[in-house]
């Protein structure tokens, strides 16, 4: 299966959310990274065909998805960033409703819904009304509904938002097990989630893809530019503000180790270290984050 965008563009008035985007996605897990306003959500909505591109197109196996209609939507599972629900429905009712929307037969719908509730850790709450759920529980229900019907294309917008660390681990394992022979695209602000699950990373900025590749490949761009330096703890914040600092940790010797991204050694005692995805994210989006 090959999902391809060709010169995909979406404008809202004078603002261009997605700008002449060309990408080819085959089976695999893709982590979509970018600061707020980078165009990730719009890109995902365009892939889901719930927004119409201003220009360009999306093709699945060389066929425009607009013409595929139900055939395309039948392959799709989508977790929106903010999704609504029916407060008086129970979790099981909600999944049965989504099953009906996806065309699952009644017997299969109930079986799959219960399996997914179990998988996301909500089986004990399956008969509880959604209005009684916490944010994290609603998010898990959202993940379950997206996976109903075993979609071949799974698009998850901020799936780990609101999940506690234990649930994030559960989610990672769930997606890893599910992703075989499917296209899974997930956007997240939690870089470590993308690094752990995604086989390929798509970095977006201002509606365009600035990087696309395997995590270890794309971090190569900043090879030699990540340093660790020990500074007195009392001055740690001053130094952190001065440099593009991705992390700092205190040691037991009244020292703080700063992880700094810089083309040249920021201090005399700086030690060059292997870059990771978080460093790359910061390298690209530091300005956006500060805004």
């Amino acid at each position: 299966m090959e999902l391809k965008t060709i010169e995909l563009t979406k404008k809202f008035g004078s603002k261009t959310a997605v700008n002449h985007l060309n990408i080819t996605l085959t089976n695999g897990v893709y982590g979509l990274l970018g600061a707020n306003g980078a165009g990730k959500t719009t890109f995902m909505r365009l892939l889901c065909n719930i927004q119409t591109p201003t220009s360009g197109k999306i093709v699945l196996n060389d066929k425009n998805i607009v013409g595929l209609n139900e055939k395309y939507r039948g392959l799709l599972g989508y977790l929106p960033q903010h999704f609504g629900y029916y407060p008086d429905f129970t979790a099981l009712d909600f999944l049965l409703y989504v099953s009906a929307l996806k065309g699952l037969n009644e017997k299969n719908a109930e079986k799959k819904s219960k399996e997914l509730l179990e998988a996301v850790g909500l089986s004990a709450e399956s008969k509880h009304k959604i209005k009684t759920f916490s944010g994290g529980m609603k998010q898990r229900l959202g993940i379950a509904q997206a996976m109903l019907g075993d979609p071949h294309i799974l698009i998850l917008d901020e799936p780990t938002a609101g999940l506690d660390p234990k649930e994030r681990v559960r989610f990672r394992n769930l997606i890893s097990a599910f992703a075989k022979n499917r296209i899974v695209i997930l956007s997240t602000h939690i870089v470590s989630d993308a690094e752990f699950i995604a086989e390929e990373i798509i970095m977006m900025k201002s509606g365009q893809i600035v990087h696309f590749g395997k995590p270890q490949e794309i971090t190569a761009e900043i090879d030699g530019q990540v340093w660790e330096c020990a500074v007195p703890s009392a001055y740690a914040e001053t130094y952190a503000a001065k440099f593009n600092t991705s992390n700092f940790r205190n040691t037991d010797k009244s020292e703080t180790i700063l992880r700094i991204i810089s083309e040249c050694p920021p201090m005399e005692n700086a030690v060059r270290v292997q870059p990771d995805l978080e460093d790359l994210y910061l390298f690209y989006f530091k300005g956006d984050i500060e805004e």
């Binding site: 889901c48 719930i50 927004q51 939507r73 799709l76 609504g84 049965l96 065309g103």
Partner: protein, 358 residues
Amino acid sequence: MKKLIQFELRKIFSKRLTQAALIALFLLSVLLGFSAYQNMYASDGKSREGTGRVAVEIDKAIAGKYEGLLTDEKVQQMMIEFKPKQDLHGMNAAYLYQNALQSALFRNFSDLNGNWNGFGVSDVFESEEIKIGYIYGWLQTSQNMVRIFVVLSLVVAIMIAPVFSGEYGGVDNIILTSRYGKTKCATAKIIGSILAALIVTTVVSIINFVYAFILYGGSGLDCSILFAPADFATEYIPFNITCGTLLNYQILLAFTSVISVTGITLVLSAVCKNQTAALVASAAVYLFPVLLPVTETSSLFKIITLLPLYHVQFASLMSVDQVSGKVLYALLAVPVALIFMVIGILVSHRVFAKHQVL
């Protein structure tokens, strides 16, 4: 599809506002019926008078004596029986009210003083055969149903306004990306809305009918509305139809009103981005004809009366001249309702399927 329709019905009926509106509507039906019953007054002009159950008994007893076709002999007998025994002090006898039959008689056959005006049955009703009997309870029920059906149409707007617009709060993301979201789901929403509207209208009609049967009994449905007491809107309907036919027309027009309102509300629900806007817009469209300064003599009147608000205020629509072949003009409400519905179905389906999630 069946499952989707079931879910849509459940969504419609599980909303708090809908439940509150339905309870209010059922209470209104019961209270109006009971209040009308309690306020009824009748006197036999001799020894008995009273309100409520007593009034109904008196009216029924008097009607029982003259039941059947209205003849000149019966007119004379009734004129003797109901002749005013007190000085009217200049009041027109047509406004004198002792009981339902007397009021109907004086409206047609009395002069200012309560004496026979010299008209025979054929002078007043031409060649029409007028069957008389106890019709007061049914006419009262009909009058109550005007108010109840106006409220019913608004309740239907409350029920249906969130059908599409309610999804735009976030569930549209999920619906429109699912296989049948843009097709069968939109169709299920429309079918569910129509079914919900028809179910509620049927239940409300049945409740009012059963309640009337309990309070007034079953007699009189085959009697003419032309021999009605003075205070009924039916006096403006110039056709010799029975109470049963009148109620059938009224209920038919309640259904056409509700179907029209459903069509209008579906369009506005699909177009408006939130349910409050959809509800307010639907209610405004439904009620706006009352603001139009159109009188019965205006050429626009015949068109205006085909709007859904006038379907439930059926007397205006029923008073328009018959179309050819003795078909009541009011029946044009049926194709009008179907037009509203077809527009509602086509537009709402298309708008929802094309909806862009923002």
